[in-house]
């Protein structure tokens, strides 16, 4: 059984779909209950993966079954996780029950199809995170688009069709170019004696810089659209705004992580020289994303669009951290991925709560809500502070590590500019919070609003708990990731690196020996000269 734990976790939602097919579409309660049960069971099944994970750099829980063999091609059903994908899988199985729970009163029509779409989406996402075969990864990457497209297009807001089609085609163009690169890479591998699409062997294939550059660009394009990076981000505000609450939550919390995961798992280790060569470009786009998205978020009138742009800004930090190529940077980036999943997922849930009550998301329609809905105000405040990156919350640890790491790397000046993004995020989030929650409760429609009910509190409690746990004690999370990150850094060392430069890559002053696992307190010890850029207060 434990041999197939990953496959079980991934395909359990499909079993749930088969179960749902037999339930009549009018028994909405039964449908919701079954869907919730399936997602909760999937989460419980994924927990043994977490607890059985050995803290080393190998891929664990691997399964390798020959799948397609014809002509020059051999594809395997090859799955496994390491420290990098472990937490993303857990994040997915954790967020899904919360997303399903949020649809209780939000979706009243076509409930059966909605639940089926959500479950198929979960399988697609999990499959993409665990694939170790390039072809299998591509299949899951594309399959994810279909249920998300339907979720946005059928249950979305006013402009849903435009948003859904834009999302689908935009993402697909990038992925198709990645397909060409993938096939080209495979044939290069065949020349080198490989026999299948398995990922691990390709890490040892060191192509010439020109080929690497093109392949990296093709992969990077597909992932950049998904992250999303400026200027390929324009699908995101539409998709997020028009999607129903559960769709937005899943899109923000998990789907966006696919892009950054793609960089860490594929683009960087497969093409390390090209990655270093294009690091300044990507860092520039990331920093522009941070600043630009923050500025645009400031002037938004729709709360959901504001949060959507804040996603772009947060993931800019992740990209900056990843392309620092050092321990703190990548650890910070990975941690920020998880943090963003938790806090932005929570933000979209909160926006969903208020939208269900008032059917509007315009900031001007609100004001003074904290008087009427104190629990809601508390929850909202905590999540806002997490999004800003207040010390004590999860956002701080990730952001700080990212800035620390990229400051120590060759991206120093980018970091300086990016740090101002931290201030900007505080500006737009706190200003939005003040306009919505504080002030006069003068709009009569707001004066009779109900506070959070038990179900909604039940959704938020795990997220709030995680915000504090990850903010105060992130070590368990970092520990499990660390060996895999170290291996990634080793793989992405450019061939021309000298011994002098290597310690700098580790985020330490030159001359210090490399330190293995680093948690936030010791990171502060290692670089005391760096002023803390996260002093928001």
């Amino acid at each position: 059984m434990s041999d197939h734990l990953l496959s079980l976790t991934t395909f359990l939602p499909i079993l749930g779909v088969l179960l749902l097919l037999f339930i009549p579409k009018d028994s909405k309660g039964v449908l919701r209950g079954v869907a919730l049960a399936v997602t909760v069971v999937t989460f419980l099944v994924s927990l043994p993966i977490l607890f059985g994970f050995q803290t080393n750099a190998d891929f664990q829980f691997t399964e390798n079954v020959p799948w397609i063999a014809a002509g020059p091609f051999a594809m395997h059903y090859n799955v496994g996780i390491d420290g990098i994908s472990l937490w993303l899988v857990i994040l997915t199985t954790f967020i899904m029950p919360l997303a399903v729970l949020s649809t209780w009163t939000a979706v009243e029509e076509k409930v059966k199809e909605y639940m089926i779409c959500l479950l198929i989406l979960e399988t697609g996402m999990l499959g993409a995170f665990i694939s170790l075969d390039l072809f299998l990864f591509y299949i899951f990457w594309e399959v994810m688009l279909i249920p998300m497209y339907f979720i946005i297009g059928i249950w979305g807001g006013k402009n849903k069709i435009y948003a859904a089609v834009k999302f689908f085609i935009y993402t697909m163009v990038g992925s198709l170019l990645m397909l060409v690169a993938l096939i080209y890479l495979y044939f290069k591998g065949l020349n080198a004696g490989f026999t299948d699409f398995g990922l691990l062997q390709f890490f040892d294939l060191r192509l010439d810089p020109a080929t690497q550059a093109w392949l990296f660009l093709a992969f990077a394009l597909a992932f950049a659209i998904k992250v999303p990076m400026f200027p390929l981000h324009t699908w995101l505000p539409d998709a997020h705004t028009e999607a129903p609450t559960a769709g937005s939550v899943i899109l923000a919390a998990i789907l966006l992580k696919m892009g950054t995961y793609g960089y860490v798992r594929f683009a960087l280790p497969l093409f390390p020289d090209a990655a270093h060569r294009f690091a300044p470009l990507i860092a520039t786009l990331a920093v522009i994303g941070i600043i630009y998205a923050a500025l645009v978020a400031m002037v938004q009138e729709d709360v959901k669009k504001l949060v959507a742009y804040s996603s772009v800004a947060h993931l800019g930090f992740v990209m900056l951290g990843i392309f620092a190529f050092n321990t703190q940077g990548i650890t910070g980036g990975m941690l920020q991925m998880l943090n963003h999943g938790v806090s932005t997922g929570a933000l979209f849930l909160i926006v969903g709560f208020i939208y269900e009550r008032r059917h509007t998301r315009l900031i001007t329609d609100f004001g003074g809500l904290s008087k009427q809905m104190p629990i809601f105000a508390t929850v909202f405040m905590i999540v806002t502070l997490s999004s800003i990156g207040l010390p004590g919350t999860n956002g701080f640890v990730g952001e700080f590590l990212v800035l620390l790491g990229s400051f120590e790397s060759s991206l120093r000046w980018w970091t300086v500019i990016a740090s101002s993004g931290v201030i900007l995020s505080a500006v737009y989030m706190l200003w939005m919070f003040q306009r919505v929650m504080f002030g006069e409760l003068d709009n009569p429609k707001n004066q009779k609003l109900a506070d959070l009910n038990a179900r909604e509190i039940a959704i938020m409690v795990p997220l709030i708990a995680l915000i504090f746990i990850m903010g105060v004690y992130p070590n368990p999370f970092i520990e499990k990731m660390d060996p895999a990150i170290q291996k990634l850094i080793a793989r992405t060392k450019p061939v021309s690196m000298t011994a002098q430069q290597m310690p700098a890559m580790q985020g330490l002053p030159a001359g210090h020996p490399a330190m293995p696992g680093m948690s936030a307190p010791s990171a502060e010890q290692a670089a005391p000269a760096v002023a803390n850029p996260n002093e928001v207060k």
Binding site: P72, G153, I169, L177
Partner: protein
Amino acid sequence: MDMITIPAVSMTPILPEIFLSVLAMALLLINVFVPGSQKSYLGYISFVGVVVAAILVGSGWGAPVESFSGSVVQDNFATFFKMIFLVSAGLAILISDQYMEREECNHGELYPLILFTVVGMMLMAAGTDLMTIFLGLEVMSVSLYVLAGFNRANLKSNEAGLKYFLLGAFSTGFLLYGMALTYGATGTTRIAKIAAAAGQMTVPSANVMLVAGMLLMLTGFAFKIAAVPFHMWTPDVYEGAPTPMTAFMSAGPKAAGFAAALRVFLVALPTLQVEWSQLLWVLAVLTMTIGNITALRQDNIKRMLAYSSIAHAGYALVGFAAGNSTGTAGILFYMLSYAFMNIGAFAVIILIGKKGESNGNVMDFAGLGFRHPVLAVAMSVFLFSLAGMPPTAGFIGKFYLFSGAIQKGYIGLAVIGVLNSAASVYYYLRVMVYMYMKEPTEDFEWTEVSAPIALSLIISVAGSLIPGIVPSVILQYAEQAIKLI
């Protein structure tokens, strides 16, 4: 007096053709005695005949058997394509019954004509002599001209038949002229001997007659597979012909055109590969691009699928331009899966349509998603397969074709191919938008799904999904099929 030596003739290679011809002629005779209300039985008999023919064809898998002095062969390549033809004919027969009843068209002769078309196509695939290929092409084409204009009461159908006839006859003239020039240059019409003769020329590409012959033959075949710029007949003929015949025409004859073209170009003219490869590169790009761009603007779903079939021929031309085993096997796989997904889509169109070919717009799909969920799911499978989304057969086919191009070094062609694929997603998604995201119109009546159409839908969905998830079997057959050419 000298005895005329009659060469030893083995009937085995053409046994399926003989069987189908005899069956078709028998059906023509029976048709005279069958009353108008019971013409459907002819359809059932012909479907059974197609299944029997498929068994006959399948039993011929294995070592090649030549006959008729080497002008016909029964090899894996021919067998694979014959299966494609039989699949498309079988599905077309299944879906024509309900349509013809609705249009109140006397459809007794339809089934023999379909069978004759299949005979022609089979000869095209099995022919190893230019004359045999031409013979098969003519038998197929003449039957198709009649099938396109079958609905005599409908003006558009008449237009379709006449247009197809005129343009088809013209292009066949080009093809024949090309064959004549090739004969002039090499002294033979046997495909294997043409290859030998061309191989003996010092610079084959300098032989003007041979190159001109190749160009003209390419023109003739390009017309049949509806490649740009020889595609102008396709939208009007597809729109005007009765919908089941459009379905049949989009799958079978296209595959037959590719079969003959592959045999001629890969086996007879490999010495000119550099030249025709470049030509096909241009043809592929033009076909894909123009097919997709024009399809974006179509509202009539049959016209949209007509332009999309032009684009799909373009994707197959990518594999043809590559000319390596991956690309060619990709063409075989793609033609098979294309038959399933396209005829499946047309089956749904028949169910949506009303008498007199009304209800043929994309808008008429509105609301199908929740009124008839099973049908909408089937249509979605077909649309996703046509668009090339995993995990459907359409994706595997495109993957193989573009891989062939990349393996040959035509990266640019592959990139253009995938960009076209992405562009095509838009008009396939448009139908899905109407199905799932728009409310149905008030006067949405519904026709019952007859058993034959239901069967055809099940077969089509299986044929679109299963080769997408476990494609190894069919891919291995395809790879084996092209080993000898």
